[in-house]
């Protein structure tokens, strides 16, 4: 493949300019990566919190276990519901003792009410759905009270939405910056080789032939920049972890590959725009 050879020769001929391009791409992708990592960890944390979203229906004293089981079966049929656990008075006591530790001996008799603990399916834990299911459960005859922390759920969702929107906006901004930088470095490469390009034209090279090595060069720079950015992001996470005191997640293989491919795509896009514009001028 002569185009690949030309692209590699271009690297060899201008090692400083190439290194500069790769580093700039790496740093813009690094910024992108850092934000992505923060977003990923926020999402993971939110998912963990979300898993704990639960509706607890306290059952009136004296309700028979048959009635409670029947109610549980009925609730299970709601499409949003993942699981219903029946918590008897004894179990409620045991749980309270466990949660309160040293004060456990305060509780002696079964004064805590029995309850139905309802877990919702993934994607059905937003405030509106939770409220709707809670309202429906409220209509059951022997349900005394319902708790589901409506304030807390609403806040959690607001946080997640803000993180999502901010992530998308900043991500796009960083991607645009990276494309512009790649475009500029390719433009430098095109100008540095304008003489060669004009000679290629004179001896009958097609524009496609002239363009190809630049596109390959852009894509390779994008890939190298992507790999470097991934490395930088990883190192940054490792060094930050000392101060964070909690386990942070890193991109899995799929996300890392997507990130590098995204770098290649940006490199390709930046070169395509730049080469197209400058070929018309030379």
């Amino acid at each position: 493949m002569p185009s690949f050879r030309t692209a590699f020769i271009a690297f060899k001929r201008a090692p400083l300019l190439s290194a500069l391009s790769v580093t700039t791409i790496a740093f813009s992708l690094f910024a992108f990566g850092l934000f992505g990592l923060v977003a990923l960890n926020i999402r993971n944390a939110l998912e963990r919190i979300e898993e704990r979203v639960e509706i607890r229906a306290f059952v009136a004293d004296g309700t028979s276990i048959e009635d409670i089981t029947a109610a549980a079966d009925q609730i299970k049929k709601y499409p949003e519901v993942l699981r219903v656990d029946i918590v008897t008075q004894q179990e409620a006591l045991a749980r309270a003792k466990k949660e309160l530790g040293e004060f456990s001996d305060v509780f002696e008799s079964a004064f805590l009410p029995a309850s139905l603990d309802v877990k919702l399916k993934e994607g059905q834990r937003d405030p509106k759905t939770v409220q709707r299911v809670a309202d429906e459960m409220q209509t059951l005859p022997f349900v005394d009270d319902i708790r589901f922390g409506e304030e807390w759920i609403a806040q959690l969702y607001r946080l997640r939405n803000i993180a999502g929107v901010a992530g998308a906006a900043l991500g796009l901004a960083f991607a645009a910056v990276a494309v512009i930088i790649i475009g500029a470095t390719i433009r430098m490469a095109v100008l540095a080789r304008s003489r060669e390009i004009s000679i290629m034209r004179l001896v009958g090279a097609t524009d496609g032939f002239i363009r190809r090595p630049f596109l390959i060069e852009g894509a390779i720079k994008g890939i190298l920049g992507g790999i470097l950015a991934l490395l930088l992001t990883y190192l940054a996470m490792r060094s930050l972890q000392q101060y964070l005191h909690f386990e942070t997640a890193f991109f899995d293989q799929r996300l890392a590959t997507i990130g590098i491919l995204f770098g290649a795509l940006m490199g390709l896009l930046g070169s395509a725009v730049s080469v197209g514009r400058h070929l018309r001028k030379i």
């Binding site: 001929r13 003489r195 000679i199 290629m200 004179l202 001896v203 009958g204 090279a205 097609t206 032939f209």
Partner: protein, 234 residues
């Protein structure tokens, strides 16, 4: 083979300056033609129109079946592969050896890789530079660099060689060498169109001469010969 019909070139941005005005001439197969005239007379513009780097404002340039009026952008590289083009400033790639510079012209046309070394060696032999094939342009004299440029122009077996002041940067000795090379190229059947300031060179041979001034052809030795013959002076 090559025909200019009433070709004019006007640059609107240069205050409607006409680089060429109603230029009409023909060049036959295997002919050798000098283009002479002062700087700015339009010699380079004519050469650029031959390889379709410039298009006429009016009139038509026809070369090898292509017309300046309807040639597609994608056909221009195909046309150029059949032409040999040489300049005063050689236009070699400084970071490549002589043979790499010549091979370049084949590589960009997508010629089979195996066929390249043989063709390159033949072209360098033709211009008398076989022994310096691995030298870089910097290591060669001006005349030798121009020979590399000629080898590059010849490697695709052009039917016409377009040379824009090829001896403009050379001393007398190198000029004579290059001119001799041009004669040989022409003798092997390739038409040559050479723009030059060197009147001595023009006078030393009896090749056809087109003289330009202010974008117009003011003298064509072919016409002169015809009119002299008609007058019975020849």
């Amino acid at each position: 083979m090559l025909r200019f019909d009433n070709v004019s070139k006007i640059y609107p941005r240069a205050g409607d300056h006409a680089a060429l005005r109603n230029v009409t001439f023909r060049v036959g197969k295997g002919e050798f033609v000098f283009l002479t005239g002062p700087s700015g007379a339009g010699k380079s513009t004519i050469l650029k129109m031959i390889y379709m780097d410039e298009r006429p404002t009016s009139g038509e340039v026809r070369i090898s079946g292509y017309s300046s009026n309807d040639i597609r952008q994608s056909d221009i590289p195909k046309l150029r592969r059949r032409l040999g083009i040489v300049f005063q400033d050689f236009r070699l790639l400084e970071d490549r050896t002589a043979e790499q510079n010549v091979a370049f012209a084949l590589e960009v046309t997508g010629a089979p890789r195996a066929s390249i070394p043989g063709k390159v060696a033949r072209a360098l032999t033709q211009v008398g530079l076989a022994s310096k094939s691995t030298a870089y342009p910097k290591e060669l004299s001006g005349g030798e660099q121009q020979r590399v440029a000629f080898a590059r122009a010849l490697v695709n077996d052009p039917f016409v060689l377009v040379a824009d002041e090829p001896t403009g940067n050379l001393d007398e000795r190198a000029t004579r060498g290059i001119f001799q090379l041009l004669r040989e190229i022409n003798a092997s059947g390739t038409a040559v169109l050479m723009a030059t300031h060197n009147l001595e060179l023009v006078r030393s041979s009896d090749y056809r001469t087109l003289e330009l001034n202010h974008g117009e052809i003011v003298f064509d030795s072919a016409d002169a010969a015809i009119s002299l013959a008609a007058n019975g002076d020849l």
